[in-house]
Amino acid sequence: MSILVDEDTRVVVQGITGGEGKFHTEQMMEYGTNVVAGAVPGRGGQEVAGVPVYDTVSQAVREEDADASVIFVPPAFAADAIFESLDSELDLAVAITEGIPTQDMSKVHKRLSEVDTHLVGPNCPGLITPGEAKLGILPGNIFSSGNVGLVSRSGTLTYQVVDNLTNRGLGQSTAVGIGGDPIIGTSFVDALSLFEEDPATDAVVMCGEIGGEDEEQAARFIAENMDTPVAGFIAGRTAPPGKRMGHAGAIVSGSGTGTAESKIDALNDAGVPVGDTPEEVADTVEELL
């Protein structure tokens, strides 16, 4: 078992005719993901990587029974692509695109509250259920199948922590990169609640970073609602206030909120051990299992 994706997930790739879209469609299929269609306005009738392309997502849903989408659409058109996937009643939409205007995401966020689709991202590496399916750009070869769930705001940090886990035989149920933007679809709390309900997940790793208050909210959720043990890691302990550390969402505000310290304290208070290094996180997971 797993959360959000498995071998039966039927994927439509929005933006499949672009360079990134085509390359990663091939990579996803090589991994075993069931990519059934592409969707690009004006390109209906073509074929990419052996997959039929439709003009709209709803055509792909109608003709190929797609139930999830991966979005490789440039920032200026990405919010529209997300709206289209939400309107097509998919179970899951994964937005890889980096640099979507925040006000666009605010409107998407509002729409999400009215539909049943899970949105992962944007500005994320996607998600993977090892051995079954990956939706996004994660390097499949570092993951291994197992019972540790992982949720992270950062792509490359996800890879690092997974590497530490895999190297000592700790496989993953599903790993989800939720993205580093200020406004995202699936939050830590959303992912944690899915892991809590997943019988195949026996421990969860949560990788947070400076900026915002999502980790603090997650800590409250863990304390009140979770039986599955959680190990934490927070990036950005050395970040100075007021400077944006790469991610649009990774900034410690001048008034002191969003610091690594406040997040680590909140997690510790919720009974979540926070590792000083990725290697320590793997140690902790071993102890929790």
Binding site: T102, Y159, Q160
Partner: protein, 381 residues
Amino acid sequence: MKLHEYQAKSVFADAGIPTPDSQLAESTDEVLSAAGSIGYPVAIKAQVQVGGRGKAGGIKLADDDEEAREAADAILGMDLKGYTVDRVLVEEAVDFTDELYVGVTMDRGEGKPVAMVSEKGGVDIESVAEEDPDAIAREHVDPAFGLQPYQARRAVYDAGIDREVASDVSSVLTTLFSLWDDRDASDTEINPLMVTSGGEVVAADAVMNIDEDALFRQPELAEMEEESYEDDLERKAGEYGFDYVRLSGNVGIIGNGAGLVMTTLDLVDYYGGEPANFLDVGGGAKAERIANALDMVFSDENVDSVVFNIFGGITRGDEVAKGINDALGQFEEIPKPVVVRLAGTNAEEGMEILNADLVQVEQTLEEAVQRAVENAQEGDA
């Protein structure tokens, strides 16, 4: 992207928000001539993008030519929190009875814009928000529908604004929200919004920050962009297009992906070193970009040691290795020891390509960071 005060004021004024008379000046002579045409008293305000200008001596009042000359001489050319002041705004000094605050920003936790009003303007609004949160009336706005007139009124009355000016303040807030919405702002703020002795409101300051990701559809604002950097290294990073933050230590750090680079910084600190910088080469970096990153870090004279931490997803290890070889191959002697750790996509190919005479290779993140910290300590000694 931050607009300067004078730019934000012109955007606000064009939208119908009352602002005092003002002129931009670059020399003491220009200040005197501007003050002459506006009429004393005037405020002379440094145009640099830092908060707390007043406390730092960047804003002065002048009642006559002599005071204006003194103020201009003091402010023009001064160093204000790392930025040199080369322009000032000369502005009609408003005779006021009250200082209010109005602002619009994105509440990221709610995923919605929030409009704010407070009677406690004229001071650091962030400390008001912390110490006396009830002094700021807030209205969350549905992004699909925008700020409704009743919401603007409710915020103004909840904030306890004087009835005489309530309608004017409400109208300013509505305009401020429209600007925020139409111009893809991340923040629009007026602090203080002054109530004059004549019972009018006027924007004595203006803050407008634009979402960089939306500049493609805000061409007029994009044209206003004036790059300002704290130092030459930040300027260079801007030219190369890197996410870069300069720090005070001596271990230079290059990596891919914000979370992983931050983690590398934290590990340097954890193992007893001090990070010199945050440098993210981003996704899919090719050889030239890697060489540029090394150039950046070598240009920082504080750096005694460098660590490269690449975990390839989109980024390919062989490309990274080529870039490192190219960049380091040009030196007769490598300026500072470089530790490299490559993992992920094409890492093995990269390891084979890497010229082991030029760099120290480590297998894990922890080992690489510890080695770089040791190198820095030797370099320091």
